[in-house]
Amino acid sequence: MSYLTLIWAGLFRRRTRTLLTFVSIAVAFLLFGLLRSIAAAFSVGVDVAGVDRLVVQPKYSIVDGLPVSHLDRIRALPGVAMATHYSWFGGFYQDRKNFFPKFPVVPAEWFAAYPELRIDPAQLEAFEQARTGVVVPQQLADKYGWKIGDKIPIEADIWPKKDGSRIWEFDLVGIYRAPTSGFGLNAFLMNYDYFDEARQFNKGQVGSFVVRVADPSKAPEIARSIDATFENSSNETRTATEAEVARQFANQIGDIGLMMGGILGAVFFTIVLLTGNTMAQAFRERIPELAVLKTLGFSDVAVSLVVLGEAVVLCAVAGAFGLGVSAVLAPGVGRAVKDILPGFALAWQTLAAGLAIAVLLGLVVGAVPAATARRLRIVDALREH
């Protein structure tokens, strides 16, 4: 009890300095929260990807396309539980800036391949029945204010219709829930049958296949057997787990993310270094005070604990404050960068790690002064200052 009072009194001895130090530390941890969230954005999809899902892409480039007839041969392979396909529609809603993925899919198969997506069975049925029907994730419906029954025009950039027009009009028949924001889990979904019939060229070509395997531990073997099936055909494939595909895509942005992480890491350590220096300086000014405490009968250990306690309390409170501010800012930053870093999010693990580092920082910057305080001889301390 009395120690806490002492710590408190020590911190408020120089209000201005404590406040200034507090803010510097808070700023460092605010940056920590944001930079960890950026790093997390580069591993997005890797953590959430289904372990039992494989993605089959064209061997030489994902833009090439594969014949839909591959599907029957994939399904016939041992260990394959189910398989379906999707394609990249491109296009945009109202303005080129309104970017979200749009996939032509086979409705029932898509939702079977991604059981984590939740849709009302009646709406799924409506999706299967309506040729021009589409279903969208909740967040997309919220963003554009769409309701079931709305007509949604999409202007195509890759796929003009047979009659030469570029406007595809869809009817919204369902809204589904996606648990996370991983790639492909938040797509605008349309009927492949309608898409294939109405498009001008490349009939029977799809983008990629999604394969669920019965036993996830056999996924690598099954991936190899799929690629072997199409080897030396005119449409060779490259099969990888969903996590691997997500990682590869993140690596395409690669260098910039790495660079940002590096720069920000340097920033964090600079600020921490500065703060440590300031706190050590503050301690030196207070040596006579500590001598007085010892004169009053406080033990060596007690005095050093008070010094250490001050550093830890200041760092922990300031760190928690900085992390709190980053948690408040994160949603806004996430919205600003969502097109390029869709996975930007502040995870609770980041906050917990930040808090742990803050306490550790307090221990580190407090350790030397605490040790000095412990060894302090009253006479010397009082004489020197």
Partner: protein
């Protein structure tokens, strides 16, 4: 006491000089300001240099005398397709000095940096591609021979992608290719591509005689609008024409804006931290010199010289930090090449950090502003110290 302006300046000079001579004895505390501000400036300048480099690489690809023809509605070369008949009509229009038919394809090739496949642009071209882009020249090997499975590779494509080496064989889609030459093009986006004969590429990628886009050399930039009008009014054509500068400017806009915004966000947050560190240091400096300042005041030095001298000390330390940060950023990053996915083209583009004099000046301006704020309040406190209390104080 009467104080002439010469007196005032003399006083300021005296006190400032005395303060600065004291700095070495407070080196630990003073370095807090220098290091803190150096950090802010180095980070700000480096991130902005990344944005500047990216924009420069894309913008320098465009020339005011060139235009690109795409299919109506398509947002980039990848989603575009132009039929041979349409291409012939456009090539005959008035104001077109030369027309180059080009096929834009993507191949997955592992990056040297991390070994994962990334999108490399494979551009199929005919002789006119070199006519419309006079800035492009072969620096090693030779040009490809028409009709053969030969490639020439941009300098940056060689640097970024595994196996793209002069003399090497590369496999794309159904065919084998030999790299016979390396080209340069002022460091622009073309240098991140590999080029081959358009007819051979059409066959290998099974595109029939479809091309992706046309590049037009215009007789004058002003004819662009006339050609755009003729294309819009021709019922046989479903095409759009854009100036190259517009086209590449649009591609760089989004990423440039994001990196720049990010740079300022981090810069401002760090600046707040650095200001508080500077305030801390300068307040300590003032409080350590309480008696000294009061003595100066007692023997007749004015308020203004004391205030100005503290401010000057902060500004000099800040400028030192700013210069250190700017130079550090220049030494570490200027000219460093990195590559990223250019979303507009769905392909990798490599570019150099550009730590320009303008950015360095901007960094120094920030440093001065931080030093001013960090010095002002402690300076005011120093000026307001009541002489008697201060002298008795310690």
């Amino acid at each position: 006491m009467h104080c002439g302006s010469t007196d005032l300046l003399n006083q300021i000079r005296e006190i400032t000089w005395m303060n600065l001579r004291n700095v070495p004895s407070r080196v630990g505390a003073s370095s807090v300001i220098v290091v803190g501000i150096a950090g802010v400036v180095a980070v700000l300048v480096s991130i902005l240099a990344m944005a500047t480099g990216f924009r420069t690489a894309l913008e320098s690809t465009g020339s005011p005398n060139r235009a690109i023809v795409l299919r109506g509605g398509s947002g980039g070369e990848l989603s575009s397709g132009v039929g041979q008949e349409s291409a012939d009509i456009v090539a005959q229009m008035d104001g077109v000095a030369a027309a180059s038919d080009e096929l834009y394809a993507i191949a997955d090739v592992p990056k040297r940096s991390n070994g994962t496949p990334a999108n490399l642009v494979v551009r199929g071209v005919e002789q006119n591609a070199f006519v419309v882009r006079p800035e492009l020249h072969i620096v090693a090997g030779r040009n490809f021979e028409p009709g053969k499975g030969e490639l020439i590779a941009g300098k940056r494509a060689v640097a970024e992608f595994t196996g793209i080496d002069l003399g090497a064989n590369v496999r794309f889609r159904d065919s084998d290719w030999k790299v016979v030459g390396v080209f340069e093009a002022n460091g622009d986006a073309n240098e991140s591509e590999v080029w081959a004969d358009v007819k051979v590429l059409q066959a290998a990628f099974r595109r029939g005689n479809l091309i992706s886009t046309m590049r037009l050399q215009l007789t004058d930039p002003a004819v662009l609008s006339t050609i755009a009008e003729r294309i819009a009014n021709d019922p046989r054509l479903d095409l759009q024409i854009r100036s190259e500068q517009d086209f590449y400017g649009d591609q760089s806009k989004q990423l440039t804006a994001i990196i720049t915004g990010f740079g300022y966000l981090v810069g401002v947050i760090m600046a707040i931290g650095a200001i508080f560190a500077a305030l801390n240091t300068m307040y300590s400096a003032v409080s350590a010199r309480t008696v000294e300042i009061a003595t100066l005041r007692a023997i007749g030095f004015g308020v203004a010289p004391v205030l100005v001298s503290v401010l000057i000390e902060a500004l000099i330390l800040a400028l030192l930090g700013g210069a250190l940060g700017a130079v550090l950023s220049y030494l570490v990053f200027n000219g460093m090449t990195i590559s990223t996915l250019n979303r507009g083209a769905f392909s990798q583009v490599a570019f150099d950090f550009a730590v320009t004099p303008k950015l360095m000046t901007q960094g120094l301006t920030w440093a001065m502003a931080l030093g001013f704020v960090g010095g002002l309040f402690p300076a005011l406190r120093a000026a307001r110290l009541p002489i008697t209390v201060a002298l008795r104080g310690e």
